[in-house]
Symmetry: C2
Subunit: 346 residues, 2 copies
């Protein structure tokens, strides 16, 4: 165990602790000669600064927490990579908090912010409400959000245009000749669900198609929820020929149901999801979906949040609206002579 402390290094180098601290943190204030002596002492003693003491004194931890709904879902994993790489490059460490889809856990993780274990926190979860997040910020904590846009001066946000995503998808399905298109929403109260529903309705309206409430149901953003929701949908109305699910996980549930019910995809039912999770390229038929630049959202938001925490504000933008891209694959492309799509391999 490394038991040596700054005073030991100071003694060995025949300087004061202040000087050692300076070469560690603000070495430009120390003469070359002294610096060299101190560095040697550090080396010889294999000294490592105690982060706890340093954090306490400097009132910073150089850590940010990231609360995700479920670490296993690749949508989150990729965002985390973006966050982590950017944070590391700015000398911050990242604490990943896996809420395992439990709101209770998310709330517990908030205490890491409150007890100063982390300097700031990024939420990538639909569970925390805008109100709760705003309350945290008003309390003085640094918070960033990925996946939605919260209208608050001090909350950096990275997100995609959900309305546009939904419109793109529905327009694509209409273009394929579908006239009855179902929509499988996430949690009814999640902002994503709401915005995607809005885009769905707008696209229908633009095409002069009727809006049928029976063609809509709420899942809960995961596979089982998608399965159950699809089954409910069929009870209400079973003549739709296409379905748009608010995320890929729910689309997997629809695949499962289709298999059980011997429904051919895409011949009898076209399916399109959102997120472009890894699985979508491996299932058969491959799932059409919407790719969100997840890594980019994570990186941009992190850069902004850290900048804000340090009061630099050199990035004047608070929000980052990134472009999503519809990826048309076999699940929604019924064509006996399929052309090679330029997006087929993405």
């Amino acid at each position: 165990m490394n038991e040596s402390k700054i005073i030991d290094v100071a003694n060995r180098a025949k300087v004061s602790v202040a000087t050692v601290s300076r070469v560690l943190n603000r070495s430009e204030l120390v003469s070359e000669k002294t610096k060299k002596r101190v560095l040697e002492a550090i080396q010889e003693m294999n000294y490592t600064p105690n982060a706890m003491a340093k954090n306490l004194r400097s009132r910073k931890t150089m850590k940010i927490g990231v609360v995700v709904a479920d670490i296993e879902v690749s949508y989150f994993a990729e965002i985390i990579k973006g966050i982590e790489n950017m944070a590391n490059s700015l000398d911050y460490n990242v604490i990943i908090c896996d809420a395992q889809n439990k709101k209770q856990k998310e709330l517990e993780y908030v205490s890491l912010l409150q007890n100063r274990t982390v300097d700031g926190m990024i939420f990538v979860t639909p569970e925390m409400t805008n109100k709760e997040l705003i309350a945290l910020v008003e309390d003085g904590y640094s918070v960033g959000v990925i996946g939605r846009n919260i209208d608050h001066e001090q909350i950096p946000c990275a997100f995609t245009d959900n309305v546009k995503i939904a419109r793109d998808v529905v327009n694509h399905l209409i273009g394929q000749g579908h006239e009855k298109i179902a929509f499988l929403s996430g949690y009814a109260d999640a902002i994503d669900s709401y915005e995607r529903l809005e885009g769905y309705m707008k696209a229908l309206r633009d095409a002069g198609m009727p809006f049928v409430p029976d063609l809509i149901d709420n899942g809960d953003f995961n596979e089982d929820g998608g399965y159950l929701s699809f089954m409910r949908l069929r009870e209400k109305n079973d003549d739709f020929t296409a379905i748009f699910t608010a995320n890929d996980e729910m689309a997997l549930g629809v695949y499962k149901a289709c298999k059980q019910l011997s429904i051919q995809v895409p011949q009898q039912l076209a399916i399109v999801g959102v997120d472009n999770i890894r699985l979508t390229k491996y299932i058969v038929p491959r799932l059409s979906t919407v790719d969100q630049p997840k890594y980019t959202m994570g990186a941009l938001l992190t850069e902004k949040l850290i900048d804000q925490m340090n009061n630099n504000e050199f990035k004047d933008k608070r929000t980052f609206k990134v472009e999503s891209k519809l990826l048309i694959r076999e699940s929604s492309m019924f064509d006996r002579n399929p052309v090679k799509s330029n997006e087929a391999s993405q």
Copy 2:
């Protein structure tokens, strides 16, 4: 921001800081009446203890770090869940360190141990060598390992019997009538690779089958590596009818190659992987694999490590060898009249 500190609470409750500290940490030492007053004060002031100060003074952080090779791979994600749930139940927090398959990053994360950001660290990565890990422990740090067995008194380990895994797989393939079975290894120097190779050879020997070096190649535990390795294998020797890949990711690479080369699975080539990652159930044909109780390994090891860090040693076992289970699915089961396997849905 919560600016109140323990002295403020003490003043408000008309007690000393020591008493406040006691109700916070060892409340059995405080009278009911006093405790109630203190708790009220805490509530009223919305006080949260400063973790940095607490950590510094108590020389504990109540955090453990987990270094994984790649957070996106579901094999790691599930282990993390096991670690996290056990740790949380013992009042520890978990810092996940995603090495993104870079050894350099893993080394950087070791500094979190050295600077006391975490009390202990769990390595779930083939990259760190036994030697490096032992050096850390000899230096006085608390370290646990998942995925292999390091023969050192102070390193708790959770792992499966890799030799048995390989034997089970190869025996299954032999049982299916295969006589030329290829083996796609991971990194040549990873302990997993070595042990699985050993099991592969033993199974062949037991069956009186020849060992053909040309039927072996080294991938690197990921999809692309599996693809490339399979291609090399075919150059050397293309008459094998079955292939055992040291993990599922590499099997995915083989699937890709088979698709390109129009090789039918399992009719022309049977494939079996290891890990039972989520994807294996979604690809077509579903991949036969070996399930390791990942969640259990994470949980058991964490319990032991934390116990050891606190010098309780109430768990006398240092190593946890958990049972793996061969899951036979369509990728290795060529049968025109397939029976419903009891494991088919796992």
